[in-house]
């Protein structure tokens, strides 16, 4: 004969386990509802201090389908790598202006620029940049060439550029522009000239 208290205790435990199971299922559902692509829009770096310098930003113009140089005066640190990062952040600020000729998604940022191996620069974009970028061969190409040309025009010695997103390899920027391979700065320079001439 099983004591009545034991049956009661087992029943309570079973009910408790069932309740915990239901609660866990609900919590799992809530986690799944959180958008997987939610972007972290908080700034990733403090404002830069340093002497201001005049630089050439190669701004993409959607209407013309071309890049045009535009001079800007921005504070640039002495460190070469940080200079590259600040330079590209200045470019992105121009694109995030409400009158931008080539809008990019809000929250777009440069995570880092690595100057490795003689002549190779690696640009690491944040996920907001790539995930929200407009899709199209020319739209994406304008963005990529703008980044590369601006970097190469202001940081001497860059021959090749590789673009990462969130520190990882990615096939394309938004379905078209190839990010899986490395860009040749000389070829990009020719392309920019070709764009301007048409």
């Amino acid at each position: 004969m099983i004591p009545r208290q034991l049956i009661f205790a087992v029943a309570v435990l079973l009910i408790g386990a069932l309740a915990l199971f239901v609660y866990a299922l609900r919590m799992r559902g809530r986690v799944a509802q959180v958008p997987a692509t939610a972007e972290d829009l908080r700034p990733v770096a403090p404002p830069v201090a340093g002497a201001t310098e005049r630089v050439a930003l190669f701004i993409a113009w959607d209407d013309a389908g071309a890049l045009h140089p535009q001079s800007a005066t921005i504070p640039l640190p002495a460190n070469r790598q940080q200079r590259a990062e600040e330079l590209l952040r200045a470019l992105l600020r121009a694109y995030q202006d409400k009158n931008s000729p080539h809008p990019i998604p809000p929250g777009s940022d440069i995570r880092s620029v690595y100057l490795v191996d003689p002549g190779l620069a690696v640009i690491d974009l944040n996920a907001a940049f790539a995930n929200g970028h407009r899709s199209g061969v020319l739209e994406e190409e304008l963005t990529v060439t703008s980044l590369i040309q601006t970097l190469a025009a202001n940081v001497p010695g860059i021959l090749k550029v590789k673009i990462l997103v969130d520190g990882k390899d990615r096939d394309t920027l938004a379905g078209h522009a190839d990010l899986s391979t490395t860009y040749d700065v000389g070829a990009v320079n020719q392309l920019v000239t070709q764009m301007q001439s048409q």
Binding site: L138, E139, E141, L159, G175, D178, Y183, L191
Partner: protein
């Protein structure tokens, strides 16, 4: 691995002593090397499956796990059985694992592949030819006793064999076409000039050998479905064909002097064949042109229109994605490289701008070839001049119709992986209404204009050089 595949598919001839397996399927026709191990013939399983879809493999000690689509399989080094989709499958020999590379006995393909591909597989072990699905290309032979007589081969699908001559024979070698015997292998004809023809298969290829007592010449017609063999002096295209002859050698102005007394080099015709790639597809929708209009759908309709327009002009064309299928850039390039088109056209659509933008490949940096192995990322390098020439022809045709056109280069895959003239076409709406991209009238106008450009390119190529010398094949040329 992909680089290797390109080399094997674009240079299938290799050494005559090398053993090859030819795989024929609706997805791709390709050739792979066979390895000899302990008196048995082995083949890489990953390489066989790659053109059919996403495949990956992982080595865990002696175990080799492969995943193809949603199918999982496990092979163990030294074991003669494998587990595929949870079931035991006999391999008829030990599985080998070499540097994380899984090799299965060649004889096991008949039992292994159907488990992965869910389609009938027919494997001819003696000739090392593997047929996936119902892809066989049958042929009939007929002797037309005209003066001079002509031997007419009619195939059930277009063919583009290597044709060469030796004193007393003309032979056609089918490396990429799934040509199979349809009747007796040895045929005798009551004709003094061409007394016999023999069909044979070996080392991943089929061969038809026509014996001749006089110099013979082959000409193509009926969109590559008919090959007519006749004495060289009076060679004429086959009669009653629905299309103009496709091969430049059939033009009466300059038949190549294929003399039996001069065995090499032998001129061989180049089939003008276009591959149209409707970009994106499946889960990759491309640009959301509007709430209801997606790039993948617009380019598919446009690709079909372009194919129709090309066929009207006597140009064989194949739409690479003719359904809402998901294809990777690598798969697209492998397919295009395998069928050896003269021109590859990738179609895109955009909501911004207007008119048409044409692109050739902007080759990536640091893409050196390694000996005979062509860099996959820069496979296009040797064909860039042809691509620019094709781009020029398309741009001229568009300008002639006063359609706004821009010509640029872009790092846009798979242009850089294609071993043929390769151009990307990005179509924008004619005005401000994006919906016009799907308008049959607009698509028809553009398709017709682009087809004119491709036809002009064909005519331009045919004019100065009507043959491609077999002794110096190009990576994308028929072999």
């Amino acid at each position: 691995m992909l680089a290797l595949l390109v080399v094997f598919t674009t240079l299938p001839a290799g050494s005559a002593d090398e053993k090859h397996l030819s795989v024929y399927s609706a997805a791709a026709n390709y050739s792979l090397p066979i390895a000899d191990r302990e008196g048995r013939e082995y083949i890489g399983l990953l390489e066989i499956l790659e053109p059919f879809g996403n495949v990956s493999a992982k080595t865990d000690g002696r175990r080799w796990r492969i995943r193809f689509g949603g199918i999982e399989a496990e092979f163990i080094q030294g074991r003669d059985r494998a587990k595929i989709r949870g079931r035991d499958v006999a391999l008829f020999g030990a599985f080998l694992l070499e540097s994380n590379h899984g090799l299965v006995p060649l004889v096991s393909l008949s039992s292994v592949l159907p488990r992965f591909l869910a389609t009938p597989v027919s494997f001819n072990e003696a000739s090392r030819r593997l047929f996936v699905g119902n892809v066989a290309n049958h042929y009939t032979v007929e002797l037309n006793p005209t003066n001079p007589s002509r031997l007419v081969f009619n195939f059930s699908a277009p063919v583009n064999p290597t044709i060469a001559t030796e004193p007393g024979r003309l032979y056609m070698i089918f490396r990429r076409e799934p040509v199979v015997l349809s009747g007796t292998p040895n045929l005798r004809f009551n004709d003094p000039a061409m007394p016999s023809a023999t069909y044979s298969e070996s080392n991943g290829q089929a061969e038809i050998d026509v014996r001749g007592t006089v110099p013979l010449i082959a000409s193509f017609s009926n969109e590559g479905r008919t090959i007519t063999i006749a004495p060289v002096q009076q060679a004429q295209p086959a009669p009653a064909t629905s299309q103009a002859p496709l091969m430049p050698t059939t033009t009466p102005t300059a038949p190549p002097p294929v003399l039996s007394t001069a065995p090499a080099p032998t001129p061989v015709a180049r089939h003008f064949f276009a591959v149209i790639d409707a970009s994106h597809g499946g889960q990759d929708r491309g640009v959301a042109l509007s709430d209801t209009l997606q790039e993948k759908d617009v380019v598919l309709g446009f690709a079909r229109q372009l194919r129709q327009e090309l066929q009207k002009r006597g140009i064989s064309a194949l739409v690479l994605r003719d359904s809402d299928a998901t294809l990777t850039a690598d798969q697209r390039a492998i397919f295009a490289n395998t069928v050896h088109p003269v021109i590859y056209v990738a179609l895109h659509a955009a909501s911004d701008g207007h008119g048409v933008r044409l692109y050739t490949s902007l080759l990536p940096a640091a893409t050196d070839n390694n000996g005979p192995f062509i860099s996959w990322d820069a496979a296009q390098a040797a064909f860039l001049a042809s691509s620019q020439s094709a781009l020029g022809a398309l741009a001229a045709a568009l300008r002639q119709q006063q359609i706004p056109v821009r010509t640029l280069s872009a790092q846009l895959r798979p242009l850089n992986n294609v071993t043929a003239a390769a151009v990307a076409v990005e179509v924008a709406p004619p005005g401000t209404n994006v919906a016009e991209l799907a308008s049959p009238a607009y698509q028809q106008t553009l398709a017709s204009t682009l087809a004119n450009g491709i036809a002009a390119l064909r005519d331009r190529q045919a004019a100065p050089q009507s043959t491609v010398p077999q002794s110096s094949p190009q990576p994308g040329a028929p072999q």
